[in-house]
């Protein structure tokens, strides 16, 4: 595994480096928890790694509470994110981070890395999709654009990012006026830690004082080419009182979620299992 690195210290440096390497084969390295195992197996000759680990720019590294939500810098690590007081109020986010690999990995892995790796099994990405997060993208001309994370992924390990762009931050919009929430992350695996999800379900439902759903975000992972936001299931559950949901409603909800799933069979689990377990999990969230 040999490669050259360029280590920009400032955003201006970074954008110059990206600009200067448009004709070259480069990868971004931040937490390296996915990149190094990948390069160990498949070393790309002449690869340049733009090393983001020493970038000193708060917009990239900090987690900030803003008026209308929380902004997480792409280079914030999972451990940084876990200790953020404002995020502790969002169970789906906390549970997703805690389910990710190990203490060691969480101290290195970045939120931006989880998103940009674009794995269909990305735990934190799945939670961010359920939360309707927005990706803030910076290009070499210092211009930014914002895109919903729901539209960020284009397939297995592919995203809308162009070669002259980089993800700067992800924004979780305010979860205001929620009286209470039904929020969580379920990761299905063969053991309790160090798993890649066989299937995952991220849900964040906001409820009014009567238990009526006022806003819904539900996303599924590891069952399609990318993480899926289950729009019609969310629409279906809106306005319903989750306290008195009928069995038929729960099943309808689960069926609607499953319309977004097209799982594959591999050595970890069969397509049948992924579908069946996920369908069961969709029903189970209303047991709380």
């Amino acid at each position: 595994m040999d490669f050259n690195t360029i280590t920009p210290q400032s955003t201006a440096d970074l954008l110059n480096v990206i600009q200067a390497n448009q004709e070259n084969n480069f990868r971004f390295g931040a937490g390296y928890t996915d990149l190094i195992p990948e390069l160990q197996i498949q070393n790309e000759k002449g690869l340049i790694v733009i090393n983001l680990a020493q970038l000193k720019d708060h917009d990239f590294t900090e987690i900030k509470a803003e008026k209308s939500g929380i902004r997480i810098g792409a280079l914030a690590t999972m451990t940084d994110t876990l200790s953020e007081e404002n995020l502790r109020k969002i169970p789906v986010m906390i549970e997703a981070i805690e389910s990710l690999a190990s203490v060691q990995i969480r101290s290195m892995a970045t939120v931006g890395g989880n998103i940009c790796t674009a794995s269909p099994a990305g735990d934190v990405s799945c939670a961010l999709v359920a939360l309707n997060a927005e990706c803030e993208i910076l290009n070499v001309e210092h211009k930014t654009r914002t895109i919903s994370i729901k539209d960020f992924f284009t397939g297995v390990k592919t995203t809308v990012l162009k070669k002259d762009e980089i993800l700067r931050s992800v924004f979780i919009p305010n979860l205001e006026c929620a009286n209470r929430t039904l929020s969580g992350f379920i990761k299905i695996g063969n053991r309790n830690s160090m798993e890649i999800a066989l299937a995952s379900l991220a849900y964040h439902l906001m409820l009014d004082e009567n238990g009526i759903v006022t806003n819904a975000g539900v996303a599924i992972g590891s069952v399609a080419k990318s993480i899926m936001f289950t729009e019609t299931a969310c629409e279906f559950i809106m306005g319903k009182n989750i306290g008195i949901l009928s069995e038929a409603d729960k099943e309808r909800f689960a069926d609607l979620v499953m319309e977004y799933a097209s799982p594959i069979s591999d050595i970890r689990a069969s397509a049948w299992y992924r579908s069946q377990a996920l369908w069961n999990m969709c029903k189970s969230i209303f047991l709380e």
Partner: protein, 324 residues
């Protein structure tokens, strides 16, 4: 369950050799055939020698891995180390003691049969007179008979090869073990969690209580992996999951509370009455877990590992059969 407790004959010799050296300062070196791979043989062999010779553990060194110098052994398996290497050590200690006692008897002007080894001394029970053990070693070496305090012994257990029907007395001794488990099955995902494991096992005499608990814990958790998550998956002769990423060992968050109840017996052929015990704890575990799962579900799962997928499939098939 019945398991071997003192090796299993798979090679023309299932024995172990030991060479002991005591230097003029009373330090004992044990050169044993038995390898140390974490099972605790260094400790347990040193404990046995310390007990027999009446010297402190700090005076004993165990050398066990260099095949240029160590005597014969067939390896760490078949619950054989404490039993086979222990018996070999005790055989060597017996010769060493005879050698020391015969010289000490001269020095103390008494009969060997009145001598005892304790607190680093060889002492006459009759007169109360004693000599420090290192002084006896020096007396052996620096004056006639001018001998080193070095001895060797080889122990071969009584075991025999299996016959053509795979029957026969294959081990030096045998042990019974039983386990009871409490499991929880998530009927949404099919995932099995083991909550409690109760281990009752005939271990002969417990030689090292902390060591034996460690062996039981490790065995049980390996057994849980065997039951629930560990599997080498092959396709056309290729192993599809050759890394820890896909070959799933149990993690610290998968383990139950383990309750160990040693059943102490006195194994006459074992060192200090002990038996080999470290393999037995992982054998009943998958069976007990499978039985517990079928007890909950009313369906048997007859292949390992009992993955969430197999459990969910069983639940699904059962409810389909019941509605049909």
């Amino acid at each position: 369950m019945l398991h071997v407790g003192g090796g299993a004959k798979i090679y023309p010799s299932d024995g172990c050799g030991t060479t002991l050296k005591m230097d003029p300062y009373g330090f004992l070196t044990i050169l044993t055939g038995s390898s140390e791979i974490g099972q605790g043989s260094e400790t347990v062999l040193a404990m046995m020698a310390a007990e027999e010779l009446g010297i402190g553990l700090e005076k004993i060194k165990v050398i066990n891995s260099d095949t240029n110098i160590k005597p014969w052994d067939v390896g760490v398996h078949a619950s054989r180390t404490s039993f086979v290497a222990g018996n070999s050590l005790l055989g060597a200690v017996k010769i060493l003691k005879q050698k020391l006692a015969s010289r000490a008897a001269e020095l103390l002007n008494t009969n060997e049969k009145f001598l005892q080894f304790q607190n680093g001394e060889i002492k006459s029970k009759k007169t109360g007179d004693s000599f420090k053990i290192d002084k006896v070693v020096r007396a052996l070496h620096f004056k006639p008979p001018n001998e080193l305090c070095e001895v060797s012994y080889f122990y071969e257990p009584s075991s025999k090869f299996q016959d053509k029907e795979y029957k026969g007395n294959v081990s030096g001794c045998y042990a019974f073990a039983a386990q009871a488990v409490e499991v929880e099955v998530d009927t949404f995902t099919g995932k099995v969690d083991v909550l409690n494991v109760f281990v009752g096992q005939d271990v002969g005499k417990v030689l090292n209580p902390m060591g034996i608990e460690g062996q039981i814990d490790g065995g049980v958790v390996m057994g849980i992996g065997y039951a629930l998550s560990e599997e080498m998956i092959y396709e056309n002769g290729y192993l599809l999951n050759p890394t820890f990423h896909d070959y799933k060992l149990q993690t610290a968050r998968d383990i139950p509370e383990i309750h160990f109840y040693p059943i102490e017996t006195n194994e006459e052929s074992g060192p200090f009455g002990a038996k080999g015990m470290a393999e037995a704890p992982l054998v009943p575990t998958p069976v007990a877990i499978a039985n517990a799962v079928s007890n909950i579900l009313g369906v048997e799962i007859n292949s390992l590992p009992i993955t969430p997928e197999k459990v969910l499939r069983a639940i699904y098939n059962k409810s389909k059969n019941e509605t049909a």
